[in-house]
Symmetry: C5
Subunit: 362 residues, 5 copies
Amino acid sequence: MSRKRRFTSRHGRVHSRPGESPGTLRIDPEAIPPQVRLIGFGPDAFVDRPITRPADIRSLKGKWPVTWIIVQGLGDVQVLTEIGKAFDLHGLALEDAVSQGQRPKAEPYEDHIFIVARTPSADNHAASDQVSFFLGSNYVISFQDRPGTLFDPVLSRLQSATGRLRKSGADYLLYSLLDALIDGYFPILDQIGEEMESIESEIISDPGEVSVRRLQAAKAKLREMRRIVRPLRDLLNELYRAESDFVREDTKVYLRDALDHAVQAIDFVDSLREMSTDLMSVYLTSTSNRMNEVMKALTLVTSIFIPLSFIASIYGMNFNPNTSALNMPELNWVYGYPFALVLMAVTAVALLFYFRRKRWLG
Amino acid sequence: MSRKRRFTSRHGRVHSRPGESPGTLRIDPEAIPPQVRLIGFGPDAFVDRPITRPADIRSLKGKWPVTWIIVQGLGDVQVLTEIGKAFDLHGLALEDAVSQGQRPKAEPYEDHIFIVARTPSADNHAASDQVSFFLGSNYVISFQDRPGTLFDPVLSRLQSATGRLRKSGADYLLYSLLDALIDGYFPILDQIGEEMESIESEIISDPGEVSVRRLQAAKAKLREMRRIVRPLRDLLNELYRAESDFVREDTKVYLRDALDHAVQAIDFVDSLREMSTDLMSVYLTSTSNRMNEVMKALTLVTSIFIPLSFIASIYGMNFNPNTSALNMPELNWVYGYPFALVLMAVTAVALLFYFRRKRWLG
Amino acid sequence: MSRKRRFTSRHGRVHSRPGESPGTLRIDPEAIPPQVRLIGFGPDAFVDRPITRPADIRSLKGKWPVTWIIVQGLGDVQVLTEIGKAFDLHGLALEDAVSQGQRPKAEPYEDHIFIVARTPSADNHAASDQVSFFLGSNYVISFQDRPGTLFDPVLSRLQSATGRLRKSGADYLLYSLLDALIDGYFPILDQIGEEMESIESEIISDPGEVSVRRLQAAKAKLREMRRIVRPLRDLLNELYRAESDFVREDTKVYLRDALDHAVQAIDFVDSLREMSTDLMSVYLTSTSNRMNEVMKALTLVTSIFIPLSFIASIYGMNFNPNTSALNMPELNWVYGYPFALVLMAVTAVALLFYFRRKRWLG
Amino acid sequence: MSRKRRFTSRHGRVHSRPGESPGTLRIDPEAIPPQVRLIGFGPDAFVDRPITRPADIRSLKGKWPVTWIIVQGLGDVQVLTEIGKAFDLHGLALEDAVSQGQRPKAEPYEDHIFIVARTPSADNHAASDQVSFFLGSNYVISFQDRPGTLFDPVLSRLQSATGRLRKSGADYLLYSLLDALIDGYFPILDQIGEEMESIESEIISDPGEVSVRRLQAAKAKLREMRRIVRPLRDLLNELYRAESDFVREDTKVYLRDALDHAVQAIDFVDSLREMSTDLMSVYLTSTSNRMNEVMKALTLVTSIFIPLSFIASIYGMNFNPNTSALNMPELNWVYGYPFALVLMAVTAVALLFYFRRKRWLG
Amino acid sequence: MSRKRRFTSRHGRVHSRPGESPGTLRIDPEAIPPQVRLIGFGPDAFVDRPITRPADIRSLKGKWPVTWIIVQGLGDVQVLTEIGKAFDLHGLALEDAVSQGQRPKAEPYEDHIFIVARTPSADNHAASDQVSFFLGSNYVISFQDRPGTLFDPVLSRLQSATGRLRKSGADYLLYSLLDALIDGYFPILDQIGEEMESIESEIISDPGEVSVRRLQAAKAKLREMRRIVRPLRDLLNELYRAESDFVREDTKVYLRDALDHAVQAIDFVDSLREMSTDLMSVYLTSTSNRMNEVMKALTLVTSIFIPLSFIASIYGMNFNPNTSALNMPELNWVYGYPFALVLMAVTAVALLFYFRRKRWLG
């Protein structure tokens, strides 16, 4: 995958060309062909069938209290257009559902609400995957750009006749899907948290540039998570507060719960971010302390040996003791050499003592 | 306690599994079995009895003007479910009351208000304990995950027939409990404040990495406190401003007082945080000053001895004074050696004088 | 005064015990016994009498258009309770008036407005004193924890029959007291400003750790001032905007003026804070510059003498010039020694020239 | 181009002289003479003609459902005044359209809405070009200070009879122009993003001052982009929320889409800004690490050789071994020299070993 | 001028004494005696006459559609009081007009609006001058503390009978004055911008403490500008949005334009502030880079010569080559000295090569 592509896929959308007509579906040439699946259910019914001819959808929608169309893969304009027509989806919304890199948002249209959310990608290199939903009075359509197991638990709950899900409307289904998506954030945050604790212990025991890189990577992931979760909170808040025909009053208490989960995720992200800032400052303090200690120790060594060398070099001068009794008589003393050695030892000890008193040793 | 567990218990909730049905009670396998206690009271009555069979609650709950159910320990689904049914508690709220790690919040439901608050843990390693309340028209239910003495003073006040508490409703009881909880924050903040002053004097007298670690720990505690108190203030504000059937007008003046206490706690936390920032900067300035002084002093030593050694090494050169009168005649001078020593002394004094004039000494 | 006490008195309140009944008056055991004084006035009347038996207040309070009760000292529960009863003061408000360490606030009650303000303490060690007021329809009660001259100018204005004050109501009296209090902030801010300019000149002429400590102290004072003035601005804003029976419309224009003064004080504080940040950065830049210069200069000295010493040590080698004509023939040259000295001089000059060209000399 | 001019053209407007009458058209003497072009269209009509005599506009303007006047170049007062009169444009608005350096804004007037937007300049040195629009009930007038191809794609779409554009009103045309303008931001942001990744790899492989300058330049561009996009978002938000006769309800859903694109551009800018902050901190950490390593290594070298030199200088002392058996008997030992060399080697190894154990080698 | 005075004049007001009666006019003893001038105008009239006896104003004030009183100099209580009485100006407002150091604000009173604005002082040492206005139904009064030419262009426009100004009311006159004042900000901002670019080039070519001081000075000026312009924007916004009898609807579009200019000035200030932050960081990076390079280079010199000196000092040892064939036989070798020199040269080259390979050279 080229550098260019990675960047584009990280930050955003396949940009529509400037001046292009709005609502034009632009298919990423590398996109996977869509697999469409229809789930129809009600208190007493449950149907799960793959859709091979999109035109079939028109005749099927409405047959059950709630219809859920699952689209995985966005690589075929015709299929997507067909679905759009079947449910009268607004062109702008459909364009956004197809083009990856949208930020989470909720946009009310006349016949439906269009919702974009994002989920951290399983693939470690890509940053996050887009999931979009259309919520109508009796249907939900979900778009993902590739097959995934994100919503499997909701499907299982639908299959069993017990539980609230089968008895409730499309809005409750949408809530369940969003809630499943948010709950999927926590394991990833836990993982980042563990990575952080591992970095912490590394920084304490052996700080190095590797730790800084790991920390930067963790921070980047946290930034990505925040970019995913914050607008999601806002959109949940909008859905919760909105007066809309598509969201019933008794579903709102559940939306509030999802909103609370999103806020909790943001809290988690924020506390991890604060932790990362602290770790960085611990790293910097500890590196600079280590460095300082090394420099201090080495400079001490130098500071002790230089005066000693000075003494030695004095007695290395070539003044002629024979010319005058004043010229380095020590050289001819019986105890001259021991005297010099003792002088050096005393100097060294005195310096060490002085340095210790000044608290320069350690 | 494993690393993993500590982390989870610090940051949050036993996560519900993605896609799981909302309102499912998930019991932490290590949770303590619940002890349930019923307090019934009114101006002329006071009953305090342990509940061993939760089913009894249904028959007892309306018998006194106010009923207070105290649940300590969250380790038994059946007991909790039974209480939930007795008071028609909403499933989502009960789920949150049981799962630790919620952030403080107030959620109005049709039949009751659900409130989560947190209190700093007595246990130094865990960060904070969750306390949750249900406020109905004539009852309060409090949930804690283990037995504690937090509410004992309120109980004592209830036992004595005098005082406002016995004559007031469930909302005033809730206020009393929240107020007791907030008042419990101040001793802990005082403690952090004292720790901070101790760190301050340590940093001034003997700054070291230990002080930084203590400071980081204090900052972490302050962060935790802020995470506890800020949403608590918001929830008190909500309760104070809300138009609710469960909170009477004449209780609101007391809620405002509790709100004021919470704001005071936040002020306290914020001023301690500012103090910690200042301490860090004092630490950094003082460490770097010390380091600089050491380096300067040692470099000075070197700078003085190196020229002296240079002089000595000049007279250590082996030019032959016999070859020429120009070749180090000093070596044969009568006062050659004293001359060299004086030359060194003069150089040293001159250098010291120069350094002092340049203000490099100190 | 113990460390503990100082801290408590700085940061706050004598904490009520957790769970204690609200409205309980807790007297600081070191508090001064109260001196109570009654000022009664109207356009044509002015009475100033000390109150020794608080019970007298009840009979006196409606006798003049405006009654002002001055309470200085908070050391006697009975006296305070008596005053509270005489004016029907709410228990929570009275509790706050008595317990020091409240933050500035305005709380409307049914029969009166309760206001807390703070004034920087004359005593340099304590941070700020609390002054609280009750404003009723025809009375003002002021509480201070010790005698002081803060309101003497207002008293003098009351004594003279001319001027607006005697003709206006209790709300205008309250405004006059608050305005006197705010005007008292400016001399203190001027003082901090002068201290700051003195620090500035010290930092420019002789930066040292002393300057940093003085700066930190000034910053702490500014923080304290901000903690005093900001909530005061908010409470004045509330009083100004509030629709209250106790504040007449034509007094509001004066409250707006007081509000403007408070905003000016905040502006002043903020500009001093910015100045302190700048001073810190000037200090850091200048210290590091000085340090760098010293290190550079000393390293230069070393860098020049080490090559010189190297040359000297070459000619200190003991190769035997007699063995071979190649072995240090310089030693026997006629101009050997001068040659060596000149070599050193040339080296030194060359190095200096090189360093200067590289702009390493200063 | 002089320094002065560059600055003025970067930051702003050709300032009107203080006190000058508002609405005076001030022509930049270097401005290009205007080329005026009229586009008239409706579902069944499309006319594109250059206007050489501005007076003609009056007779032409109502002839098609929508008229679009394109003005490129702002160098002729008379032409601009004529256009202003033809459409009753407000003097203040026209003044702003003519004077470059306005910030993006939407100003409703009685007869039209005036909109200023900016587009990053193709010319690398100038910062951004101003584009302004007047939206009336059935016309759009666009002003640019020089010919450009920004709106060519919209023109092409107009030429083809299919598509929404021909069938819609002036407001939809305005939306199309703004959308084309916003879509033009993304290629530039992509470019900055690529520059940033190139800087990143440079910083990792070979950090230097060049990287810092490139980073500063990228940051400056991002700041410029933010200064362009943020007010644009605000103006789109205003247009979207405003109740105006000039913006129909069914155009608003398109404006919301444009708003969403603007928000996406801001997100993009913000994430690039965070990236730049991170890069700077990576640069600083890595530079200081490199520096530290060099200093450490060099100091190590010194610390090992100085003790060795000391040993050598001891045996360079001139004590007379003949005077006394104590005076440097080593000098006459058979293995004296090897002994000294071995002593040095042992010292060196011991020091290396000690440094390694202390982790100073590293 | 004493230090004290400078400070007071920079930061603020001649403080009223605490407790003083509000509305007391306090004249700065150094203030200039006022020159009063009356401008009366209407579509067909224009009168400009100096007022020597303030009492005359009463009889003159209603004689023209709009009256503009210009007061320059604030040194005479009686004159000011007389003007205040003639127009029924509120005492608090007049006090503020007279006392310098007010922050920009708009205060509606019953009979007039009182407006304070500030303009950067021509005098480089004083920070900014205060200009205040009273806007009544048919008059404007402007107060300045000394004569100045700020409003001369407006006067010239008034003199000519053409133009909107003569035909409009007092509110349009006020707008014209405020607009002239704001337009006066831009030349000063341009000047700061040029100073900044000069600092920038200095920092790049030769960074030093001088640049830092210039930068700090520029930052201080920008702070002052912000303190002047931000509240001015707020007051214009208030005037624009306010429903007031004194501001007509058709003047508001002009106020919006002035507001837009103020916002542009703030934008300009903010972008210069960001530039100053960047310059500081460029300075720090570049200083530390230079320092690092010097230290590195010098340490390299040392690191190369110390091993060389070590070799020299080995051959300076006095081992007796006659005692043993092992004792420094090199000393008697024919090529002993050349060998030593070559050894040194090889060592030096090897070290240089090693350092270059490690990229420590530059």
